[in-house]
């Protein structure tokens, strides 16, 4: 009788362990998805914030002196005082990074790490290509090369370079370096934004 009860007890333990396992597994999946979202958001947000600040793409412009809010970029009218774009850059970067982070939870890990390498490489190479083209136009070109002074012309070497880097970076390195982008991107962004402020420090 005792043995029967013991066996029955064991069966009931086994049976009851299934819902517990399922709950634990669901919790782990949620935690893992949140981790993917948080890391992707942490990489995307500083990247997009830097891009939006440099291109001056605010979602809205606030005019504090008159308390008015305008959609997108608004150049102040006479008597409106100084405009504030900072809020607009942040809100646009948060919304965009949120969408990217959400999409990241739905794609495979390997694809996500490759895409991260591609986007970060592109973010570095595209403006670098544009700067190189401008140097070429002013210092080297022996013909009228003004047509090269275009972000779309610079996009070609930018995309090709980023694609080549993404292709040649080994999967293991992309995997290991993924969380490192969390520090590389904000620091890189701060270098770019700090450089853009040099006018204040060299007067």
């Amino acid at each position: 009788m005792t043995q029967t009860l013991d066996v029955g007890g064991r069966f009931s333990q086994l049976d009851s362990s299934h819902p517990v396992d399922a709950t634990t597994s669901a919790a782990q999946t949620r935690a893992s998805q949140f981790g993917t979202f948080a890391i992707t958001f942490g990489i995307t947000f500083p990247l997009l914030y830097t891009v939006f600040e440099r291109l001056n793409w605010p979602l809205f412009t606030y005019q504090p002196a008159v308390g008015k809010l305008y959609f997108w970029l608004h150049r102040p009218l006479s008597g409106e005082g100084p405009p504030m774009y900072w809020y607009g850059w942040i809100v646009l970067a948060v919304a965009s990074a949120f969408v990217v982070g959400w999409i990241a939870t739905m794609v495979s890990g390997q694809w996500l790490r490759r895409a991260t390498v591609f986007c970060c490489a592109l973010a570095a190479l595209w403006p670098a290509a544009l700067a190189a083209l401008r140097i070429f136009i002013t210092d080297w070109a022996t013909f009228d090369a003004d047509f090269l002074n275009s972000v779309w012309v610079a996009a070609v070497p930018g995309f090709l370079g980023a694609a080549a880097i993404t292709y040649f970076v080994p999967s293991r390195l992309a995997e290991r370096a993924w969380t490192s982008w969390l520090l590389i991107v904000p620091i890189g962004g701060l270098v770019v934004l700090g450089y853009s402020l040099q006018q204040y420090f060299v007067r």
């Binding site: 500083p46 914030y49 504090p64 100084p82 900072w86 520090l183 402020l197 204040y200």
Partner: protein, 165 residues
């Protein structure tokens, strides 16, 4: 704003906000500095089974730091309205370019730190993952440095035109 200006002077209202901003800054600075010190000087394994404990339970600070950081950023964004119209313009007129530039950079530093908060919070979730030891440490140090930079630059701007200046 009209309701508030009926109770206290507008100038006093902004000074109270700035003082709350300062109090939050001190709290955040203390918490994030203690945590950064804890990750830089982790618990050591002493003789036998005894562990030489870290001076602060670093993980328990993470949620407090994340909440304080967001509150502080929101408060800073509110006070920033007054800075843009009442402080920065005379700063430029008096050619305090280093202060203006440093404050502009502060906006970017604080924003970058804010973007890291979800990942920071994830890395400090219990149980702590050994896989994320390195990135957890560096994200914490980044946040600590950003808070220190913001505090010092904010203090300099306050000395130009703020509470007690």
């Amino acid at each position: 704003m009209d309701i508030i200006s009926g109770i206290i002077r507008e100038d006093t209202f902004w000074k109270i906000l700035l003082f709350v901003h300062f109090l939050l800054a001190v709290s955040l600075l203390a918490a994030v500095t203690l945590q950064a010190v804890a990750v830089l000087m982790p618990a050591r394994q002493a003789a036998g089974n005894f562990v030489d404990r870290s001076p602060v339970p670093a993980a328990s600070y993470a949620a407090v730091i994340a909440i304080l950081y967001v509150l502080q950023a929101l408060m800073g964004a509110w006070v920033y309205v007054k800075y843009r119209t009442y402080v920065r313009i005379p700063m430029e007129e008096l050619r305090h370019w280093w202060t203006v530039g440093s404050f502009e950079f502060k906006e970017h530093v604080v924003t970058m730190g804010m973007g890291l908060l979800p990942a920071y919070w994830y890395f400090w979730r219990q149980p702590l993952s050994a896989e994320h030891d390195g990135v957890r440490k560096w994200v914490t140090i980044f946040l600590a440095l950003s808070v220190w930079y913001a505090f010092i630059v904010g203090h300099v701007a306050n000395d130009f035109r703020g509470v007690g200046s």
